[in-house]
């Protein structure tokens, strides 16, 4: 029974992204969404900074720089918007879990080097971007109340999709080279 519950929760998380974190089907509030967006971008910037200095393949280094630049641009706009709307980002279970996941990823990556580092970084980037797209579609975009916040979420979605494609492409190439 316990196992079944765990499996159910895992499936729920996959099916609804962060929805499982919200009690009784109520979605996150705008201040909570703001914290999720800023954290989601920041953890990918932090991983990118580590990968830019530690990655082995030039292609992975280039991808890491792209994550720093693109997610930095998104966070700049997100920060400007929350200031304009006088919204104070409110930490919540999803933003905390994203932060924890990001910290664990960096701790793991720090123990690796060379091709093993590249593979672990890119594998995590694929999973991370899939999870964020899922959360955007299932939770964040439908829950956002403020029209400008919703518009920003819609605007950043194609970037996450492009990053996922790029990460998958690199993942396939690293696989081919036997890394």
């Amino acid at each position: 029974m316990k196992c079944t519950m765990t499996l159910c929760m895992t499936l729920l998380v996959f099916a609804f992204g962060a929805t499982a974190a919200w009690a009784q089907g109520a979605g996150p509030t705008d201040p909570q969404i703001a914290a999720i967006v800023v954290t989601a971008n920041q953890v990918d910037i932090d991983a990118g900074k580590l990968a830019k200095s530690k990655a082995h393949s030039p292609q992975v280094k280039e991808f890491a720089q792209r994550m720093i630049t693109d997610h930095g641009g998104v966070n700049k706009s997100a920060t400007e918007l929350v200031q304009k709307l006088h919204v104070t980002p409110q930490p919540n279970p999803t933003s905390e879990s994203l932060q924890k996941g990001g910290d664990e990823n960096i701790a793991k990556l720090k123990t690796l080097s060379g091709a093993a580092f590249d593979k672990a970084y890119i594998d995590h980037e694929v999973a991370y971007h899939e999870a964020v797209i899922n959360a955007l579609d299932k939770t964040l975009i439908p829950s956002a109340q403020n029209a400008e916040l919703k518009a920003l979420l819609v605007k950043v979605r194609p970037a996450f999709v492009a990053h996922l494609d790029m990460a998958k492409q690199i993942q396939a190439e690293l696989g081919k080279s036997g890394a």
Binding site: T69, D70, G73, K155, V156, P158, A159, A162, D165, M166
Partner: protein, 120 residues
Amino acid sequence: MPRLPRLTLRGGLLSLAALLLSSSDLAGAADAKPAAQGAVHTVVIENLQFNPAELQVHRGDRIVWVNKDLFPHTATATSHVFDSGSIAANSSWTYVASKAGEYAYGCTFHPTMKAILKVQ
């Protein structure tokens, strides 16, 4: 009888005036030609797409790529006939199409972004 030469003269003057007019028209058209070549086309870069994805222009036209995304992009011909380098968010880059041909181009930062410029 004396009226005929006057008419002829008048006709001649009219013809001359017409000739002058048409030649000045021609001169005007010649002067206007470089300005007419400078037609301006805009390609908007937004949501990691070039819009329009296919653009047809004439030699001498200007193409302005406007980046409306939140991060930089490039407009880089596969053949490297043109390369914008990094176009920052909310910035633009202008290229004067000098050589005829069909140029596939994309963003070097985001390989999923592809478009084509046709220069006649």
